[in-house]
Subunit: 352 residues, 4 copies
């Protein structure tokens, strides 16, 4: 019953196979190899447009490199107040960006509302150089709350951003989960909706450590090689990073794996709802947030369930604890059933 994180999951078997298959003799280092070039071509196919892609080993690196590339040091990045870049990267965007500022917008269910973005932007401009410059919008898809922006929502947010000359970044650490939910193509979910640069993550989907900064306008990537290198994120034996992408992107394997994770989350949500523990936000990806009675939560932990408790964020009443349950490609139905059965049995004996 490990629902702690998609990072707690193992690696999909095909990833290890792909790494082993790339381990044949010598190959140029630092990305100047056939595997790496093939990945860039493959990403261009998948996104239906020529892209420039920079593979890195962590999502924090992808996000921070992307944001630093798009934002001057005196620039502001607008993001959700609870986004990963704002709360869980120890200031990586600020560090890579030479002191840029994140402006965290609140928003129900982990999503920024267009009106809130517009209102925040209205406060910028006209007070330079005293005020920092509005520069970039960063959207997390799927969001940290397990919700997914609809395509029209992304489009509207990007339009507002572009109207104010902002660049748009998407943190796609869980892009696969979002695509499965949206039943749309990678192109429609990103650049066709207005996204300029994507952090494209496959680690949470099942890779070992495989993330990429994807530029939908390759011309915008000038000097990105230097930026990645001086951050220590250009891997020497780069082919093994590339091989992970190849394996995941073959025959839509990344979407299959994400589909399983999403299905497990839905199952968990449905069964929790059935025992009167409905999730607090719509379950659209692989995250389920539920407000548990405190005694139940203690009981589950004692029974060996693994998950993180989150600040209540106003959605959990005082006598309840907000719990985040994450599913992954490796989550099994019986774990879910066992978890919900524990809840059910506890509540039968000790109704809240």
């Amino acid at each position: 019953m490990n629902f702690a994180s998609d990072n707690a999951a193992p690696v999909a078997p095909e990833i290890l196979d792909a790494i082993a298959q790339a381990n044949v003799g010598f190959a140029p280092g630092y990305g100047d190899d056939e595997w790496s070039r093939a990945v860039e071509r493959r990403l261009s196919e998948i996104f239906e447009r020529e892209v420039a892609a920079f593979l890195v080993p962590t999502g924090t690196a992808a996000n921070a490199l992307a944001l630093a590339h798009l934002t001057p040091a005196w620039g502001v990045v607008f993001c959700h107040a609870e986004s990963h870049i704002a709360t869980a990267e120890c200031g990586a965007p600020e560090f890579f960006g030479g002191g840029l500022k994140l402006c965290g917008l609140s928003g129900a269910g982990g999503k920024i509302a267009a009106a809130d973005l517009a209102a925040a932007l209205a406060g910028y401009g006209g007070h330079g150089p005293h005020q920092m410059t509005a520069a970039t919008l960063s959207l997390t898809q799927a969001s940290e709350a397990g919700t997914v922006y609809r395509i029209d929502e992304v489009t509207a947010l990007c339009a507002i951003a572009h109207d104010h000359a902002l660049a748009v970044h998407m943190d796609g650490a869980r892009l696969a989960n979002a695509l499965v939910h949206l039943e749309t193509t990678p192109a429609h979910a990103t650049w066709l909706a207005g996204v300029d640069v994507l952090s494209f993550g496959l680690t949470k989907a099942g890779a070992l450590a495989a993330e990429a900064v994807v530029f939908f306008d390759p011309a915008r990537a000038v000097c990105m090689p230097e930026r990645r290198k001086r951050a220590g994120h250009l891997l020497s034996k780069h082919r093994f990073l590339a091989a992970q992408f190849t394996a995941m992107l073959a025959q839509g394997r990344w979407l299959e794996l994400a589909g399983h994770a999403n299905a497990m989350a839905r199952r968990l949500a449905e069964r929790l709802t059935a025992v009167h523990l409905a999730p607090v936000w719509p379950v659209e990806a692989n995250l389920v947030f539920v407000a548990l009675p405190r005694r139940l939560e203690a009981w589950l932990k004692a029974a060996g369930a693994r998950y993180y408790v989150r600040p209540s964020a106003g959605v959990a009443p005082g006598d309840r604890v907000l719990v985040r349950l994450v599913t992954s490609f490796a989550t099994q139905e019986d774990e879910i059933d066992r978890f919900v059965d524990l809840c059910k049995n506890f509540l039968a004996q000790a109704p809240p």
Copy 2:
């Protein structure tokens, strides 16, 4: 005949096995797992002292994080002018260090001479705050020229550094090669000689991507977790980084692999010497530098040999090209023999 780099080599089979063996079920992310804890204990055994170790995926990350941790932003790092940190990391130490300065010292065969360090330090102090502060010494062991500092040389350099209140960092991307040459223990080669912090590299030795910043005084590592995280170098599925260390450090496998690489370099050096192409610097690790006649060099390249040409650095006459040949755990004797035979045949027909 691939002598381009130890990074062009594949991964040792036991590394892939270890990764596969770690791929069992769920485990906490970000280093809070059994594999990661075991590595820190194992490193403490190997260095015969309690250490704090921070695993990262690249040598550039290890170096830059270590130097930034030891050096204030207004500090100077003394290093060899041709060291990796000074020439091949695109300014990573300066970036991570908030604008610190590298002071490159020249020195025969890639090694800093004690007298040169002392002379450089004599120019610091007494002119603050206008002048930057002498803060850190960084030694590369084995050096970029394929030479190895003797223990007494390291000891003398560290003593000078400590007398001036400098910290000492060692870039040990090829520490294994140096240890094999020195026939000494990791402890004697590092902290017993005065090294404070080590970049401990296993990637060049045969791992996929496995480097560590090792603090011989764990108290000195305060805030290093934050520093690594905000640089994007804390891997989420950290156990797979740890597993590589475990595999390499088991039964001295890292030293065995380095021993092979060193032996191949020696063989190459000896056979080149036999055809009157003696290396320009002592061959003490896995790097062989040789000044080739220009036409021979073109011939070798056309014949498929892979290596890098380096600036002559005053050791190659005008009609010759300085060539760097790197061996690795994967280098085979027959590649060496074939390469030297090509040289021999060419020179027989067209003596320089």
Copy 3:
């Protein structure tokens, strides 16, 4: 009728006299002169404790240097959401601090409430190294809203900060105005209440360009000389910076000048109140915020009044404009009377 800013005011005559008096022959540069040493002694007298002081030409420099000195690059500075450091310094604290983060707390009348600080701090700790570290509290005294923290309020906030191992910085760009209001000593308003480092500003009080970072624990100032120098804020002809401090601090001249500014603000507030335009926040320093009917505001501007319009911040109804009126040592009673008469006459003819 210039109420734009205390920075729009001229320089007090004694400042120019002091500069002229310091202009006698040669003197060592960069602060190694008698004038500069005397200022540090004088500040120690005024604060009734040995201090270390670093003179700089701007308040932004003082704030950013102080915050960067107290806060690691992965640290969070808690401040009021509308504070100068958060809204009007173009990211200087983030830049000097290598990417530190400002966490802006809301609070009525420009002041942080102790409960809000405590609540914000409750969210930190236990999630490292993913989350940034709570590091510093910055209080603005007098506040940007023209209010003044009472001594017991400062004491309570500092106590909370210190309980959480935070350092406390005070932005004292208008410290003189606060002291006059509080009728207390510099010592009681700062270190006796728990402040660790002060940005001590005299420019707004009437100097040409004279600010200082004051450390109440001189030991904490280690490396501050290097920090100031590399930021370009160590003036070469430093005696002319020091002379301004000497002039202002002689016989309490700085407090006299601030007393005049405060009195003018009170007069303005009282007379505005009399015409039913009461200020929106208590007028305790030299700033008056008033919500003017839009047509009156346009009329005043056309009549030559100078001031800034501010975002309504929820205190100005939709048909009104929030106007900031700043008085200074140079403000004359007749300007105030003329301004209020304009309001009165307009309202008599066109009541809101």
Copy 4:
């Protein structure tokens, strides 16, 4: 007998007059005033071309802001190894530039030779992204050794720089002294010779604190206002900075003052030569470097002479001390005569 520095000199009287004259009533802050606008127009006249100018209080700020603006964080600035930016600004260029690197070129008499620049540049390119990018050339005019680049030398260096796509910065802390020596116009000495951005210093010439970053192509200055502001170098009462420029630039006063300083240096050089203490480098500006016998140097110091001793730099024999003597607008002939008489008398009694 104060030859310590042009920064040890007082302020020219007309500077104080100008500051007093600007002290009339209220004026907008932060450079939005008539005095500031007039300075930009005046600089455009003097340089015979529309320029964008950013006034700052220190030369370090001007240099560091200019270099950071021209150079990416992964870029290299080529400068003389003994230049002020490399030795006396505590890493300000590296700090402002986010970790850029200075590459110090040696060169006789403080000047970079065209061949040396070309040789250094030959080592760049083709090794990216591992190697930093050659980005900027910084020339110091007059040089730290008191020599002056001839116009054709500047032209040749700029041409090499531009051929390699480098920007050219000139550190003109002593530009006035150079212009007087060259008997040329500001335009010919700068942009007509290829300089892109100038640090234009008037403090050493006699101002209180008055430096500017001058862009000869105003379009290149985009975002420079933000860069200056967030560095804390936008003065609030900016008119008093502007007034200094106005006073110095009126009727060529800056050149007159520099002319006096140069004449005093020439007199010092000639008289020292007459007593067999010829300067070690050509005296072309207001700096005289002379290798004094150690006992004479001690004698002079005891007699009250003020100056700095510099590292011998290979030009002072072992029994001599390299002394730097700086003249300024305030240097009087009798000081020079007294100093040389002391030398003469000492040598008469104790010949070296």
